[in-house]
Point group: C2
Chain length 152, copies 2
């Protein structure tokens, strides 16, 4: 492989984010990445909530796909979680930085509920899958209640 | 399950995004979600590029994890791709909306390269894995060259 060509291709590909590859990401970048994961959690959880509540037709294939995505997305905020993001403007409440054990537990509860949804979504029990969606929703709320500013 | 409670929990959890569950997402929301997927692609590709170029120590576990994330993230911009996002301000060039076949092919090339990286990352051939990372980088650049504004 031509390393010089590859380096150039990567620099083009990643744009301003290329520095990520070579240095500790800045707090503002970490927050942007964290928010991106939350945005996508909302994207893929929203339709499942509608299905569980009977507001949209149940679609097992979409549930299974979204559950798989949520499994990855539920982990993504954590590998970039850093105390140095405390002073970056975001919806994260100060409690996330002071009550870290409770915050981590709330995140773990979400990941565990998503894991159970992944399993349920591979079966053919619609009621069980809907219940698993509901449990994921509760763990979203359980974390947001204490650690996220209420939307204005 | 108590549907009223669950509905309330989901509304809290999803905040302003809750409307996503019940209606066609607005173009601005679709763009925000698309950008979130690109942000996270950068987050998880950046360190792999550094490893492939010898600028960071090779870490097989991180490569395998990130490759799995990239497999999901490379699909995520597409389920929300919609021509009605054409007029929303973003780095997407007009060509993405006019030369749709070429644009889709560029996206397919990226997803295929990521798929090959996932396979390589499960083996123990470091050189092959680094080559696969390089090929992913080229497909990032191949799409950005034609369909993304150059960073200012």
């Amino acid at each position: 492989m031509n390393k010089k060509l590859m380096s150039a291709a990567l620099a083009v590909a990643l744009g301003a984010g290329a520095s990520l590859a070579f240095a500790q990401a800045k707090p503002e970048v970490l927050v942007k990445q964290r928010q991106a994961a939350m945005t996508l959690q909302g994207k893929y959880m929203g339709p499942l909530g509608a299905m569980a509540q009977g507001k949209a037709p149940f679609n097992a294939a979409v549930v299974a796909r979204n559950a798989g995505y949520l499994e990855a997305l539920s982990a993504m905020p954590w590998d970039g979680w850093d105390a140095n993001t405390k002073d970056v403007k975001s919806a994260t409440l100060p409690a996330a930085f002071s009550d870290t054990a409770k915050f981590k537990t709330a995140g773990d509860n979400f990941q565990a509920a998503v894991g159970k949804l992944v399993v349920a979504s591979k079966g053919s029990d619609e009621a069980a899958t809907k219940a698993a969606i509901g449990n994921v929703g509760k763990t979203c709320g359980g974390c947001h209640d204490d650690f996220r500013q209420k939307p204005q």
